[in-house]
């Protein structure tokens, strides 16, 4: 198995890792870097639980190889409200609206909604639907996730720009 040395930024910290070509980005994050908020629900790119931001764009970390992330800036759920900082509006909204139950799919949904709001602070209903369409949740029935997404837009606008500045792309 060929080995490669990759360098990537994860939640702002620089990492250099020697990896097998077959190592997925999800396993790099979870097993090597102990960032276990990124969950694996299917390992074939359907459920969306493993969604992280790669250079600002939502991506399935289970079907992304670690070597493909060489040079990239990765953001995971752990980077949103680190060390007891206030919850991100998306996190806060999911709490307020009971948009989560077991919490397993939640990290992926949070990251996709964060991407959406950073791209478009006032997304259309269609854009929200399209974003949520990339995620499976078995617990909630989605109704309260939709309410939470709308609440996140509201809270995000309230928080104003500056509180959660998107990283440079």
């Amino acid at each position: 198995m060929s080995r490669h040395t990759i360098t990537l930024t994860v939640n702002g910290a620089l990492h250099t890792e020697e990896v097998e070509a077959r190592l997925t980005l999800a396993d790099l994050l979870r097993e090597r870097l102990d960032l276990t908020a990124t969950h694996l629900g299917c390992e074939h790119g359907v459920c969306g639980a493993c969604t992280v931001l790669v250079d600002g764009r939502a991506a399935r970390s289970c079907t992304t190889l670690a070597v493909q992330a060489d040079g990239a800036a990765i953001r995971t759920l752990e980077g949103l409200a680190a060390d007891g900082a206030e919850l991100h509006p998306v996190q806060q909204a999911l709490w307020e609206k009971h948009g989560m139950q077991c919490g397993f799919c939640t990290p992926g949904i949070v990251m996709s909604l964060v991407e959406l709001l950073e791209r478009d602070p006032q997304p259309s209903g269609e854009a929200i639907t399209e974003t949520l369409g990339g995620h499976l949740c078995r617990c909630t029935g989605y109704v309260k996730i939709r309410e939470a997404a709308l609440e996140a837009v509201r809270l995000s606008a309230q928080a104003g720009s500056g509180t959660h500045t998107p990283e440079a792309r």
């Binding site: 097998e20 077959r22 190592l23 979870r30 097993e31 102990d34 960032l35 276990t36 908020a37 969950h39 694996l40 629900g41 299917c42 390992e43 074939h44 359907v46 459920c47 639980a49 995971t76 759920l77 752990e78 949103l80 409200a81 919850l87 996190q91 999911l94 709490w95 307020e96 009971h98 989560m100 139950q101 077991c102 919490g103 397993f104 799919c105 939640t106 990290p107 949070v110 639907t129 949520l132 369409g133 995620h135 499976l136 949740c137 078995r138 617990c139 909630t140 029935g141 989605y142 109704v143 309260k144 996730i145 939709r146």
Partner: protein, 780 residues
């Protein structure tokens, strides 16, 4: 026992568990690591039915990356996995922990390999060579009962036949003016939590003890099974439960992997982890539902059901599991739902086939029962030209006749006695909530324009609050903290919040001061776990009773400290004070706990140290929740695609602890039902090969499949527990397939719906059969 206005009991509080999970501090099984941990991979049968001629693990063992390989040869004399609801007549077709001479479904464990990590474990698993002699397989339950069918176990595939009879159905049929006969079939689908199964076993040589951390709903039962398998006493086995990413019933089984991991950890002296992948989950974690009902129904010209005969067949797969018989038991015993049917007979065959084993999941048996009974109601309505709602109202058991014993019983669940409620009122409220009458008018109008709209009703009664018992213990620590231990085992239902609400209500303390702990068999000796919509009603009652005991003791201690009579004292804001003056002289609960701590004489009149109490609550019988769903759909005649427009639920779960949490349970259940009604099926081909073992082909409902779901709670407290709580976790999944099926049938009338999933192909075929579209129309 209700809280004063502004209290925590009954309030829509945000969940205590969420901030931690939202920050990424959840610790699910796959997230856990132990020092020196190894990874296991399972070698599974690729054949649905085959003799095992030999298992050659030599190549795997010789590979330097391999730490261990276990096959059946290495594990002789292991007891098979238990089935606790088997009757005397049930043939003992239990599952071996690891297949020895024969495999009976694709995915059955044949060997387990251990290596340093999962990637390598999967590599070396491929080196295990199993020589199989394939046998003909059988996947259809009726074929499996025929002479000459391939036999999975001994003599027959008919594992059991359950028989129920009340009243005199023969006489009723004889006298009946009208009879209908139909088969209503529900497909095989599954709980399918987003988190698969997984476990880590660790061996502690100092304590000579194995600890299994596992994604389960029933840690104490898993512990019992491990003790039996490993031949170890209770004190040397501990089961821990991490955060669980959904369970829905499929995690109430003790699975072979959990036992194998314990063996490996003990043998190797190192922790061993196994995490199921999604393919494994779909082929090797239990399924449910696959059952049909051949019903004959006698009814009169007013639409009143006079009698029902039911022949029910459950395709239960290759082996008995812990609770295999629940699906057939409930499927027939709860068939008549909220309706007054006093002459009834049912025969339920439980049949083994070369598919993965079934075990209960969310809505077990009730889903098929409600689907069948509600299709019957709609069929009668069509026959007589009556509104389907009216036919239901004419048949419902009136509230003044509750409690009503139904003359039937289920093993483990006991006698079926509907305890309380008002089914007709629930239906009327659901009709009002959904705008039923307005929709009928709109539907006529739209049908003239070629749009196929439909509305359907799904009424059900559901056994909830299942026993046998649950443990709750409450104590006040010297800091004033209230610690609750429960045998309930949460997997997303919000128990750390709702059980805290009960304790906080009883002891008049802040929610932040209550800490609910669970999921550790060393902490909870007599726990049962979470399933069968039981935690609020049974686990919650145990917490309530224990908290009441703690309150009494706290007041007795405070009475000595304050030199006041107990009846003059009250609890509020974490303090005991004189009734009517909460800010006046008093003592805090922390001071009370400190006064009762050991190291000093006991306060006068107090008999033991500590301010704590434990209750093990045994309900006398189940409590029966109920609800009515109304679903509105549109059917595209060109494609047969069903679009859900709205879904409405009025649900009686008894007293509501937290309406936000209960809404979430109901809505989530409805989405489950949408999956079952329209999308989901574990498909096997005739040879027993799974056809769709991935999320690309097994279709779970996504956001776009789920319409707005409005939920209204109707509250008729049950007399069976002090808070009047019925179950709420499953009803959403029970009423929805029936309502959706009714709505589709309504939209495509005279086309018919007799089976789920109601796929576009089935709908289109029904439209063609009904003459509503040309057969060629769909080919455009």
């Amino acid at each position: 026992m209700s809280a004063p206005a502004g209290g925590v009991f009954g309030a829509p509080l945000k969940r205590k568990e969420d901030p931690r999970l939202l920050r990424g501090d959840g610790r699910y099984i796959a997230d856990l690591k132990a020092h020196g941990m190894l990874a296991a991979a399972i070698v599974r049968s690729p054949h649905p039915h085959a003799w095992i001629r030999s298992v050659d693990a030599s190549a795997a063992r010789e590979d330097p990356r391999t730490i261990a390989v276990l096959t059946a040869e290495d594990l002789p004399d292991l007891p098979p996995l238990p089935c606790i609801d088997a009757e005397e007549t049930t043939r003992p077709f239990n599952q071996p922990v690891i297949a020895a001479d024969k495999v009976r479904y694709v995915g059955e464990p044949v060997a387990v390999v251990v290596a340093e990590d999962r990637y390598v474990a999967e590599d070396v698993a491929e080196l295990v060579v199993v020589d199989y002699e394939p046998l003909p397989a059988v996947t259809d339950a009726e074929q499996a009962m025929e002479p000459g069918a391939p036999v999975l176990h001994e003599e027959t595939n008919l594992c059991d036949t359950l028989e129920y009879r009340i009243g005199d159905p023969d006489a009723a049929f004889e006298a009946a003016p009208r009879v209908l006969a139909e088969r209503f079939a529900t497909q095989r689908y599954a709980g399918m939590p987003m988190e698969t199964r997984g476990a880590i076993a660790e061996w502690d040589p100092r304590a000579e003890k194995v600890t299994l951390t596992t994604s389960t709903q029933v840690p104490n039962a898993v512990k019992r099974d491990i003790c039996a398998s490993l031949g170890m006493p209770e004190s040397r086995v501990r089961v821990l439960v991490p955060d669980v990413g959904g369970a829905f019933g499929v995690k109430i089984q003790t699975y072979p992997e959990e036992i194998l991991l314990c063996f490996l950890a003990r043998r190797l002296g190192r922790p061993v982890k196994w995490i199921e992948d999604r393919w494994e989950h779909i082929v090797a974690t239990t399924h449910g539902r696959e059952q049909f009902h051949d019903v004959e129904v006698a009814y009169d010209d007013e639409g009143r059901v006079l009698a029902i005969r039911d022949r029910c067949v459950t395709n239960t797969g290759a082996y008995l599991q812990r609770l295999t018989l629940v699906e057939p038991f409930i499927g027939v015993a709860m068939l008549t739902g909220p309706y007054d049917v006093t002459d009834f007979e049912a025969t339920a065959h439980v049949v083994m086939t070369n598919k993965a084993p079934m075990n209960p999941f969310r809505g077990v048996g009730h889903v098929q029962a409600a689907f069948t009974m509600e299709r019957i109601m709609d069929t009668i309505a069509r026959d007589l030209g009556l509104d389907p709602a009216e036919v239901r109202l004419r048949n419902m058991i009136p509230p003044e006749e509750l409690p009503r014993p139904r003359g039937l019983a289920n093993v483990l669940a006991g006698e079926i006695i509907y305890d309380s409620g008002d089914y007709a009122e629930c239906l009327r409220r659901a009709l009002a909530l959904s705008g039923y009458d307005d929709f009928r008018a709109e539907q006529e109008e739209q049908r003239r324009r070629g749009r196929l709209l439909g509305i359907g009703i799904g009424a059900f009664v559901e056994e909830t609050g299942l026993g046998p018992y649950e443990m709750g213990s409450v104590r006040i620590e010297p800091s004033g903290q209230v610690v609750v231990h429960t045998g309930a085992c949460t997997s997303g239902q919000g128990h750390l919040t709702t059980l805290a609400q009960i304790a906080a209500d009883t002891l008049a303390v802040d929610m932040a001061d209550v800490d609910v702990r669970y999921g550790d068999t060393d902490l909870v000796r007599w726990g049962v776990g979470t399933y069968a919509s039981r935690t609020a009603a049974i686990g919650g009652t145990a917490v309530r009773n224990a908290a009441v005991g703690v309150r009494e003791k706290a007041l007795a201690i405070a009475s000595t400290m304050l030199e006041a009579d107990v009846k003059d004292l009250e609890l509020s804001g974490g303090r005991v004070s004189i009734v009517g003056s909460p800010a006046g002289p008093g003592v805090s609960l922390a001071e009370v706990a400190a006064a009762a701590a050991p190291g000093q004489p006991l306060p006068e009149g107090v008999e033991s140290y500590g301010v704590e109490a434990t209750d093990i609550f045994h309900p006398k019988t189940n409590t029966f929740a109920y609800g009515v769903h109304v679903s509105k759909v549109e059917v595209d005649p060109a494609t047969g695609i069903v679009t859900l427009l709205e879904h409405h639920v009025v649900n009686d779960s008894g007293t509501v602890i937290n309406p936000l949490v209960l809404d979430g349970q109901v809505q989530g259940g409805v989405a489950f039902g949408i999956g079952g009604a329209l999308l989901e099926e574990v498909v096997y081909d005739d040879d027993g090969q799974p056809r769709n073992p991935s999320f690309m082909e097994y279709l779970l409902p996504a956001d776009g499949n789920v319409p707005d779901i409005t939920v209204e709670h109707m509250v008729v407290p049950t007399p069976l527990n002090p808070d009047g709580i019925k179950g709420g976790g499953e009803g959403g999944a029970v009423g929805s397939p029936a309502a959706i099926a009714g709505a589709v049938a309504d939209a495509i009338h005279p086309g018919r719906v007799t089976a789920t999933p109601i796929t576009p192909a089935r709908v289109f075929a029904a439209l063609v059969e009904a003459g509503l579209v040309e057969p060629e129309a769909g080919r455009a």
